[in-house]
């Protein structure tokens, strides 16, 4: 399931819905990303997430399908917020449910790596009163590259 939204989310409610009535799901791996005060305490006043409506949903649906095809999962959840967020705010939630914990963990890491390099979101940081676009990181590219040889167990 894919949700691209301005609103906050409740991980407890979301994960309960994901495994509700699925009695063969023993493993729920999840990752939550928060707005981080990268420049030191109090320096970051806000972060605005811009995205490409339409393409975002399209990319995340492809990502969900890819994860379901690669691992023995029951379900996948990706929630990504956009708009103006404050330090400590929730940005993203990825979750994968399975009867196998290794599959759930690996799929969840895969979702995050792919999302960091493929989902059309851009972060604008406000630090000390100045706004600047966050630059993409090479190590996110490297992390995503490890999934490209179609090797499920790394």
């Amino acid at each position: 399931m894919i949700k691209v939204q301005r609103e906050d989310f409740d991980i407890g409610v979301e994960l309960a819905a994901l495994s509700q009535g699925r009695d063969n799901v023993g493993a729920v791996a999840s990752f939550m990303g928060l707005v981080r005060d990268v420049a030191g305490p109090g320096a970051l006043s806000a972060m605005t997430l811009e995205h490409y409506p339409g393409m975002t949903e399209r990319q995340l649906e492809q990502l969900e399908a890819e994860a379901l095809a690669r691992w023995p999962l029951d379900r996948v959840l990706i929630i990504h917020r956009h708009g103006r967020l404050l330090p400590g705010d929730r940005i993203v939630l990825c979750a994968a449910t399975s009867s196998h914990r290794e599959a759930a963990f690996e799929a969840c890491a895969f979702l995050m790596d792919w999302l960091k390099t493929k989902a059309p979101f851009w972060k604008l940081e406000e630090i000390d009163g100045k706004s600047s676009w966050v630059a993409a990181r090479q190590d996110d590219e490297d992390a995503a590259a490890r999934w490209q040889n179609n090797n499920q167990s790394e």
Binding site: G33, L49, E50, H51, Y52, G54, M55, R58, Q59, H80, I91, V92, M112, L115, K116, T117, K118, A119, P120, F121, W122, K123, L124, W133, V134, A135, A136, R137, D140
Partner: protein, 83 residues
Amino acid sequence: MKVLYFAWLRDRVGLSEEIVEPPVDVATVGELIAWLAQRSPGHGEAFADPTIVRCAINQDYAKAHERFNAGDEVAFFPPVTGG
């Protein structure tokens, strides 16, 4: 055709979208970038380094050599930084 700009590409171009009519010999993403870069100083600045510009045709990633059609939605943006 409709062209969209996001993040700092939009800031530099000064537009979030525009309707353009490139000549018929402009057929690939790379050629479109070179053509758009001539439209204004802002466009020139946005496309100054094409290697850090990403493109999507109809909401799927497209590389410089790929061709677009007249009715396509073409978007330009920096490398993504979500998650």
